[in-house]
């Protein structure tokens, strides 16, 4: 217990995402301080940028913004409360932070610290709605992140500040503002005034937008100029920083070979994360839900409504909203105090930072991340040990003694039994028994990471896990990060190049950073547009799904008529695509003369022949032709009219049904007696389709005893046939509670198409058949067992002369062929009278022995023998053999 954070720290853990970042950054202060000293002068021109922004955006110019001294948290809070009491939404004193060039990093983050302080003080400020608090919080974090980027990533200034940003607080007001406005009423009935933007400010915005790749051509000249300026600046910067840079670069050089850039520039704190804010928060919130069971402290359950409304208000946090919407109905914690979802499942394309996110947040929430990924063994046993060691034990060597948080990376590659084990582990109740059961309940968070959420093996996990979808980083944030990396590595890169790179990477941070490192490794000091264009990224993830490929087959793409081949090849699974085409081609085009159908099918036939040849011979030389076949189908079938392509299911369905019926054939085939054994094909084609007719004799529905001789014979034939083919009538309870005789296996399903009940005999007949069959079975068994004894039955009737039959039997044995001979127990004959010996081996005289058991001797020697039987019956006893009854 004492190892866990004490109550004072708990709250900080709760809001660790905000708090931790400062503490984390203390570790980075070296670089920060270094960075700051050089920023000092350049942030001046940055502030010029800011001032060049449309002036009327500041509703209230705060006096504190001009002061250079840091504002103490308390004061800050006070001013805020005052402003809030005026119930107008204002700008937070963040501007001040932007201008406060001379501040140290600590002071800056002290500034963020007061954010937390605000939160802590929240109960005091009842009048301030919690939503607003959250809004502020978010905004502050965003601002803080931007600030941090400014500090740590100097070259990014242009990027970060020029980014057009919609300032909510500056442009909206609850009061009638002084600027031009449009009034609106929000869903709560409040009146909101939104600023009308002047044309010049709009144009300014346009100018800022220059960096967007789409406008690149239009502003090529200005762009070129800007680049030059920037490069000059960069050079100047490098000169200025010579002293510091040397140190850092030397450090880098040492670690360069050992460390990938991706690892080197892995986010170190919450604000560094490139993934979307709601995603981060969702995961963090879930991690905090574990606090009760892990750290033994109360989790604040303030959340649901408040957060939800907040989400509604801002609107921009779609994903957050979705996530909350899911947990809205169900309690977030179960009765054990554990979160409702025991596992968080992060999914998203490769390279967007899922693993990083998981590790970082686990650390932030006070855990020690333990990772299991595809390179570790993931058999069921190995996985169980890993699970147990990670969730039930705690590391002794770790100085901080943090609890573990298990991170299962690349879980979509794990075998299905492993995942089932995980699910079982998670869903086990906390008190699964008073006695010590083997499976301990889960008491630690588990984060699973996957690329493909819909992998078949993940199906069981998907049902129980909290799904968090991590999207790719946005282009501007990614390019900002790339710029930071470039600056640190001394790689010259114009912002537009970085933007192009970021766009190309499609959110794949890892790929983008690796391109940078690749270019750097070629000893180039500058990143050019050509490099980006030649970089082989963005094309690696051209995986297409089956449906995309099918859609492509059925539509004409005017832009890229040749693209079909690429798409089909990217999708693979030619067989499935062929199935898809087969199921959809009828609706593709008007085809009165059936020519299109013929053409399409001829290609599909070719495809089938080639693919089965390939599979049969394991010779892949013709494999390439498969995609060509599909491309030909595309030529025949594609049209401009949009078509709803259906997912191919018929083939699967047919296969499943076929297996079902096949099993019926198999059971008949196995059950039939050897003398009627047939090949399965002739069973299917000849016998089984006709057998139902044979098994429905036309009987009167009367007692079997009353049947005519011919009827009884047909009944016997029917029973015999049932026995021959291993069929049985089984009594089954129907839905309406009656018992009915059902043929097992049900050959009618196999024999008939649709109208299965056509030739089923009526229930009474069925019952008669069932009875006749039972008799038949007994008779046959009797025959089997009675075959050998039947020769000796006559002998057994004269037990007196037992010697002679034995010899005859032996003679018979010799005559009987091998397979008919049976084992018989050897008779033990008493040759010598038994000699009684006492304990010491001396022979005891017979008379003594006789005297000892004289009593039993009397009984055995007597000719009269009486045995008492309980009960009384005066019926005449007579031996009746079963075959007499049959």
């Amino acid at each position: 217990m004492s190892d866990y954070p004490d109550p004072d720290e708990e709250y900080e853990l709760m809001y660790a995402d905000e708090l931790e970042l400062m503490q984390e950054q203390d570790a980075l202060t070296d670089t920060n301080v270094v960075a700051k000293s050089k920023i000092a002068k350049r942030s001046l021109d940055f502030s010029n940028h800011m001032s060049s922004q449309p002036a009327p955006s500041t509703l209230i110019t705060k006096t504190t913004s001009s002061t250079e001294t840091p504002v103490t948290p308390n004061e800050d809070a006070d001013t805020e409360t005052i402003i809030n009491s005026q119930s107008s939404v204002i700008l937070q004193p963040m501007e001040e932070a932007l201008v406060s060039n001379k501040r140290t990093a600590d002071e800056l983050f002290g500034d963020i610290e007061d954010i937390d302080f605000d939160d802590k003080e929240m109960p005091n400020k009842r009048f301030k709605s919690e939503e607003e608090n959250d809004l502020e919080l978010i905004n502050k974090i965003i601002e803080g992140r931007r600030l941090r980027q400014l500090l740590v990533e100097p070259s990014n200034r242009l990027q970060g500040t020029n980014k057009p940003k919609y300032d909510v607080k500056g442009n909206m007001s609850y009061n009638i503002p002084r600027w031009a406005f449009v009034p609106l009423t929000n869903f709560e009935g409040d009146r909101i005034y939104i600023r009308l933007e002047s044309e010049e400010s709009w144009e300014n915005n346009l100018n800022i937008n220059i960096e967007q790749p789409s406008l690149h051509a239009m502003y090529a000249n200005a762009w070129e100029e800007a680049r030059k300026i920037l490069e000059k600046k960069q050079e100047r910067l490098i000169e200025n920083e010579n002293t510091e840079e040397v140190v850092t670069i030397e450090e880098d050089m040492e670690t360069k070979d050992a460390q990938l850039w991706v690892d080197k520039y892995r986010p170190q704190s919450y604000v560094d994360l490139l993934s979307e804010e709601p995603v981060n928060r969702a995961l963090l919130h879930w991690l905090h839900l574990w606090d009760k069971i892990v750290f033994k402290k109360e989790v604040k359950t303030k959340d649901p409504q408040q957060r939800n409304s907040f989400v509604k208000r801002t609107g921009q946090f779609q994903l957050f909203n979705k996530w909350k919407g899911k947990t809205d109905n169900e309690p977030e914690l179960d009765e054990d105090g554990r979160p409702h979802h025991k596992v968080a499942l992060l999914c998203g394309p490769p390279g967007v930072g899922k693993t990083t996110l998981a590790h970082l947040l686990a650390k932030l929430a006070g855990y020690r991340p333990v990772e299991i990924n595809a390179s570790d063994e993931r058999s069921t046993d190995a996985f169980r040990t890993a699970l147990q060691s990670a969730t039930l034990m705690r590391s002794v060597l770790d100085a901080e003694k943090r609890p573990n948080c298990l991170i299962l990376d690349e879980i979509d590659g794990a075998p299905l039994p492993t995942i089932e084990l995980l699910v079982k582990w998670c869903t086990a109740a906390i008190d699964s028994g008073k006695k010590k059961t083997k499976s301990q309940p889960l008491r630690r968070p588990i984060i699973a990471i996957c690329n493909d959420l819909y992998a078949t093996s993940l199906r069981p996990l998907r049902a129980v896990a909290l799904l968090v979808r991590v999207g790719g980083a946005s282009v501007c944030r990614l390019s900002a990060r790339l710029a930071a990396v470039c600056a640190r590595e001394g790689l010259l890169a114009a912002p537009h190049v970085l933007t192009a790179l970021a766009t190309r990477a499609q959110g794949d941070v890892r790929a983008a950073i690796q391109v940078l490192s690749f270019i750097k490794a070629r000893a180039r000091a500058q990143l050019k547009v050509e490099d980006v264009e030649n970089a082989a990224i963005g094309t690696k993830d051209c995986n297409k799904t089956l449906m995309q490929a099918l859609q492509a087959v059925f539509t004409i793409d005017d832009k890229e008529p040749e693209a079909i081949l690429k798409i089909v090849q990217a999708a693979g699974e030619y067989d499935r695509i062929a199935d898809g085409i087969f199921e959809n081609y009828m609706a593709a085009r008007v085809d009165a003369r059936m020519l299109i159908a013929c053409e399409t099918l001829s290609w599909l036939r070719l495809l089938d022949a080639i693919s089965s040849w390939t599979m049969r011979t394991q010779n892949y030389s013709l494999y390439g032709a498969l995609s060509l076949c599909i491309a030909r189908c595309h030529r025949v079938l594609a049209s401009r009219a949009p078509q709803r392509v259906k997912f191919p299911t018929q083939a699967q369905e047919a296969y499943r049904k076929k297996l079902e019926l096949e099993s019926i054939v198999n059971s008949v085939w196995r059950g039939s007696v050897p003398s009627v054994a047939l090949s399965r094909n002739s069973l299917k084609v000849d016998v089984l389709p006709l057998l139902p007719y044979l098994l429905s004799p036309s009987l009167r529905t009367a007692n079997v005893q009353l049947c005519s001789e011919s009827e009884r014979r047909s009944l016997g034939a029917c029973a015999g046939a049932l026995c021959d083919y291993g069929l049985r009538y089984v009594q089954q309870r129907t839905a309406d509670g009656l018992y009915a005789f059902v043929l097992e296996p049900d050959i009618n399903r196999l024999a008939f198409y649709g109208n299965e009940d056509r030739v089923r005999p009526p229930p009474a007949v069925r019952q008669a058949i069932a009875r006749a069959q039972q008799l038949e079975i007994i008779r046959r068994n009797e025959e089997m067992t009675g075959r050998a004894p039947s020769t000796t039955t006559s002998d057994s009737k004269k037990p007196v002369e037992s010697k002679k039959p034995a010899t005859t039997m032996r003679e018979q044995d010799a005559a009987i062929p091998n397979h008919m001979q049976r084992l018989k127990p050897k008779e033990v004959t008493k040759s010598t009278p038994q000699v009684h010996k006492d304990f010491f081996g001396r022979i005891v005289p017979l008379s003594q022995v006789k005297r000892q058991d004289a009593l039993p001797d009397v009984i055995s020697s007597s000719s009269v023998f009486y045995q008492y039987r309980e009960g009384f019956n005066n019926a005449v006893r007579r031996k009746v053999r079963l075959r007499d009854l049959l």
Binding site: A578, R605, D608, S612, A654, A677, C723
Partner: protein, 355 residues
């Protein structure tokens, strides 16, 4: 053994009902000491198995009729356990190696070796060799057939093989040349009718000749089917009447319906419906060759002579391709579509001529 098919199966070579000269020759074969490997082929329901059992009885006496069913286990080189059912007597063993699919080679190798390497212990038995009966040899994989080649020669002293196939076209020539090939043609319709009459006489029933002929006609020269149909007739209605309804396998009716659907209308919509029917047939395990030939037979019936050749040649081509592939539905539907196209064109042209 209470169905007529099983009950009245001839047990002696001399009691066979048709192909009597062949029976005599087989009997002579047994009389001579030199008994070769046999490859017996003929369509389903022609009496191959009956002849083989008669032959065995001729060789070993009635002991071969004491059959027992066993499952044998084999392990493939890839350590997969496979199981196969065998029917055997003291003198012979019968397997259907295609039951285990692509692993049939293992079965052939192990089983034949097992049997061949053990000599007949009972020295007073008539023959010093055992017999291995392999069913459906034409469906064996090429691997298995090649494995069979050498085995056949090597163990010829202790074991004889009787191979049963529907057609020898898919048996490799190497095996064909090592065997005495015996063809068992399907009985003619009149032969079937006589057999039916005989069986009915044994059952003390009187079968009108017309009905016998009708049954023989719809049984498609398959004696087994004919006997089953005859018995079904009896179950449904006795005494027989010459014009009573002959129950036939439902899939035959189903194929006929499908064919009439194809002839009734030629459009993609109809093709869709036909596809469902074809799927249904495949699901019920009707061999695709049978579907093909059934469809062709029904379709051609309504065709002009010029169309007939064309359709038949397409059917042959498509069926061949189907055997190469493993998605029979593609090929079946392709054939139907092709037929529709040809038929429609033909109809339009003939209509155009009329006007």
């Amino acid at each position: 053994m209470s169905l007529w098919v099983d009950k009245h199966r001839p047990k002696d070579l001399m009691k066979l009902d048709y192909h009597k000269e062949q029976a005599v020759r087989l009997k002579n074969l047994v009389q001579q000491s030199d008994f070769p490997h046999l490859l017996i082929y003929g369509p389903s329901g022609a009496g191959k198995k009956t002849r083989v059992m008669c032959l065995l009885r001729e060789l070993y006496g009635s002991g071969v009729e004491r059959l027992r069913q066993e499952t044998m286990n084999f392990t493939t080189p890839s350590n997969k356990k496979i199981e196969i059912m065998t029917v055997s007597s003291n003198y012979h063993i019968e397997v259907n190696p295609t039951d285990v699919g692509i692993h049939d080679r293992v079965v052939i190798m192990d089983l034949v070796k097992n049997v061949a390497q053990t000599h007949q212990i009972d020295s007073n038995g008539q023959r010093e060799f055992k017999v291995v009966i392999l069913n459906e040899v034409d469906d064996l994989t090429k691997d298995a057939q090649h494995a069979l080649r050498r085995t056949m020669e090597k163990y010829v002293a202790t074991c004889r093989l009787i191979l049963i196939a529907n057609s020898i076209s898919r048996v490799i020539p190497a095996i064909r040349s090592r065997c005495l090939t015996i063809s068992v043609p399907a009985p003619t319709e009149s032969e079937i009718a006589t057999v039916l009459q005989l069986v009915c006489k044994k059952e003390c029933l009187s079968l009108p000749n017309d009905l016998a002929l009708r049954i023989a006609k719809s049984a498609d020269r398959n004696l087994r089917r004919a006997l089953l149909m005859c018995e079904a007739c009896k179950v449904q209605q006795y005494p027989f009447t010459p014009d009573q309804k002959v129950p036939e396998p439902d899939w035959q009716t189903f194929i006929r319906e499908t064919a009439s659907m194809i002839l009734s209308e030629q459009s993609p919509k109809k093709l869709c419906e036909v596809r469902q029917k074809l799927y249904e047939l495949i699901i019920h395990g009707i061999p695709t060759e049978t579907i093909f030939s059934g469809l062709l037979k029904e379709l051609v019936r309504n065709c002009d002579m010029t169309l007939k050749c064309q359709v038949a040649s397409y059917a042959a081509r498509y069926e061949h391709r189907m055997r190469l592939g493993n998605k029979p539905i593609f090929h079946l539907e392709a054939f139907v579509a092709k037929f529709m196209a040809i038929y429609k064109k033909f109809m339009e042209e003939s209509l155009g001529d009329m006007f």
